[in-house]
């Protein structure tokens, strides 16, 4: 029986950030969803209208609910469905934060190749998150 090999510091930091970030995201997601489905908070798209709306393509759905693409949902966090999207956004941000957190460690080790790889991956995810990929649609 061998002992567990020592964990590289960047893997420890990545694991720690991912653990706490995803935990916060899940708690937020479940709490917001409960507020939404129990009717404690109003909704952008009322629950009783959803069976008609969820058959529509996204562009038609947004038009029917007076929604918009990108980060528009963040302006209506008093609505249960928008607050639930905040939980989803937190979860989706976890890989970005975890990758960004290990860049200083790679730089300290003078491992510039991995520092650049992490920087590029974080940049791709930030670009996807920014909404600039929509090119004006939907």
């Amino acid at each position: 029986m061998n002992h567990l090999p020592p964990m590289p510091p960047e893997e420890k930091r990545y694991a720690d950030v991912l653990h706490w970030g995803s935990l916060a995201g899940f708690v937020m997601l479940v709490a917001a969803f409960l507020l939404y489905v129990t009717g404690t908070l109003d909704a952008q798209a009322p629950l009783d209208q959803l069976p008609r709306l969820w058959k529509l393509p996204t562009a038609d759905y947004l038009a029917a609910t007076h929604g918009a693409g990108g980060w528009h949902w963040i302006t209506s966090l008093d609505k249960g469905d928008s607050l639930s999207l905040l939980g989803i956004a937190l979860l989706s941000a976890c890989p970005i934060v975890s990758i960004a957190a290990v860049i200083p460690l790679y730089l300290r080790e003078k491992n510039y190749v991995y520092a650049v790889l992490c920087l590029m991956t974080a940049a791709v995810l930030l670009y996807a998150a920014s909404g600039m990929t929509l090119f004006g649609h939907p």
């Binding site: 893997e11 694991a15 969803f33 989803i88 996807a128």
Partner: protein, 275 residues
Amino acid sequence: MWSLGMFVVCFFMGIAAVPAGVGGGVLFVPIVSGFFPFHLDFVRGAGLLVAMASTLSAGPSLLRNGMASLRLVMPLALSAALSSMAGAMVGLALPAQSVQILLGLAILTIAMLMMLSNKSEFPHVPKPDAWSRYLGIHGVFHDVVSGRNIPWRVHRTPAGIALFLGIGFLGGLFGVGAGWANVPGLNLMMGVPLKLAAASSSLILSVASASATWYYLNSGAILPVIAVPSVIGMMMGARIGAHLLTVLNPTVVRKVVIAALLFSGLRSLLKGLGY
């Protein structure tokens, strides 16, 4: 009511997915798009979230147990994240009917590949390639079952990076996780030991799925009433599935999952063709 239905269905998918060795997304998208009344855009958005959430929760313990390697993950995750975003853009731009047909064909192909694919616990890597030597993709992973530390290295790194470009694209296009392709790609093509491949695949998937999930989220293609109960059901089911690993016969479960994929793939294809 539909949320409860999604929770129950995803709970059972989660139980079956772990012993069958597939992620939840590959079961979720064809089954839900084939048998539930939701538009395919919302099903794919929820499928990506399901795939991402499962891998996010597993990632930290896989790293802490020495089962996954960040050095192996990063170059492939960059490749998959780029193409996954492109796949999401193409997927939401194409007519839903075309995507439904392509999805049916893809799922039927995946089921065939699962039937035919081999695995190698510890593949032989005679000589690491120049890229993997430059990137330092090697290490020692701890096999919890045997208690042994197993040295590993990889070959065919450029081909692996190219493969992950393709896998990421399909994942973003169809909203499915890509564990079914990641693990054979890492194991059979690059020579990564099977357990390290499965665990590292999970971390790659979390990054690739996040990139496509952001695109779906920004496009308004994620409906919490579909996505959230699916995520919770799948994660609870997966926990039970992991415990049942010692009780259930993985070969039997794998056959059931392949049958479910064949059935739902055929259903997707027929639905796309208007039947």
